[in-house]
Point group: C2
Chain length 238, copies 2
């Protein structure tokens, strides 16, 4: 394959922010969070570690850029004729799937609180909350609750996947946790023991969606009375 001699010859692609970030994602996917090293990344790009610093400020910017790259490609576009509930579920599943494909994202997502990738999700959840006719004063709470729930599941999924890396199978892993739960002290862990069976046969995805539905129920149930109809009023403890 001869390259046109008129163009400046390039033995290899020149370094660029884009190439660095996509190599970082690849490294994170294959070697995990601890595998992303400037030295390993430099070797992957056939250069020295210092070269990367010309394009990127440091490790945390690199991680942020990697998360951004993954999130923007995975989050689904708007489906115009979906109900608000369906749209929110699709959005949530987008985040869920991104973390299933790239477990390291789950750990890092919470670290970018009011920043780019999750802010876009927040915005789109919020719009659906508005479509649901939640009163203005309760919209922030509703969207925040959904976001926090999604981020919480994200973190736990990431942790589970990491713990699962040595175990062979996903169901085998759930079985071992369920078995551990079933052996807990019956007095101290009566509830946990009682749901151990449900843990064994549950589907992570379905469980995640069930939680979303639960919160959506709360949002629509309390529509129009967000301050007035608290189940029990918060008062002095005595």
């Amino acid at each position: 394959m001869a390259t046109s001699p008129s163009r400046p010859e390039r033995r290899q692609e020149p370094l660029s922010r884009e190439r660095i970030v996509s190599a970082a994602v690849e490294l994170l996917d294959t070697a995990g969070e601890g595998g992303l090293t400037f030295r390993a990344l430099a070797k992957h790009l056939a250069t020295g570690p210092g070269a990367i610093y010309w394009h990127i400020t440091g490790r945390s910017e690199l991680l942020g850029a990697a998360i951004n790259a993954v999130m923007t490609t995975t989050i689904p576009g708007d489906d115009t004729d979906a109900t608000p509930q369906e749209a929110i579920r699709a959005l949530a599943l987008g985040v869920f799937d991104a973390i299933e494909a790239h477990p390291w994202v789950g750990t890092q997502l919470a670290r970018t609180p009011s920043q780019s990738p999750m802010l876009r999700v927040f915005e789109r959840i919020g719009r659906q909350i508005q479509v649901l006719r939640v009163p203005a004063a309760a919209q922030f709470t509703a969207a925040s609750a959904l976001m926090s729930y999604i981020l919480g599941v994200a973190g736990q999924n990431a942790a589970n996947t990491r713990a699962l890396q040595r175990d062979t199978d996903r169901t085998e892993f759930l079985d071992s946790v369920a078995a551990a739960w079933a052996e807990l002290d019956p007095d101290e862990y009566a509830f946990t023991r009682s749901v151990a069976g449900q843990l064994r046969k549950h589907d992570d995805r379905e469980e995640f969606l069930a939680g979303i539905d639960l919160i959506l129920s709360g949002i629509t149930a309390r529509r129009g009375c967000h301050a007035a109809c608290t189940p029990t009023t918060r008062g002095p403890d005595s």
Copy 2:
């Protein structure tokens, strides 16, 4: 203060797992997650780094023990004559306060999924769910949703506190975020802009509790019909 000469003299307290862990908590509180170093910890305990390894396996066990120590002292005991909702709120606030006092806990909590400190919280939330007469098949989902929400807020709070460390004031920080939101593209971030004002005057604690109440509403509203009365059935997208 003379020590009895019959006992073996101790120039300093002997090393122990307990002393190491409490020194680690102190170090984490003052220097943050990055400040916990075996060398720094050893200096704090007036010994060499190798000594610590006689009592603790490694860094991750040390972090886990530190979290455990903080969580067990902060989570409130059972208040026997509280409503289930009040008990769950008290529990959730216990976790919230632990993270406010020790921000590094928030980042690490999710990493211990089915493990000791959060499992105790899960158990006690679950018991209250049972008191609420949620049908058995829906109990796991309800308790899990509350846990995920709590862990999600925990992670975000930890991230916020870290970002806040250089800023002077908490309200000043919220103001700067709100100001940033207000300057976003009106087309792309219409919702986010519209709630920027609520962010500025909101109280983290109240907001957190409002989210708990929202989920509790969902749990009680759907009591007895967890599978049947989904707002809109999940079906094929087309």
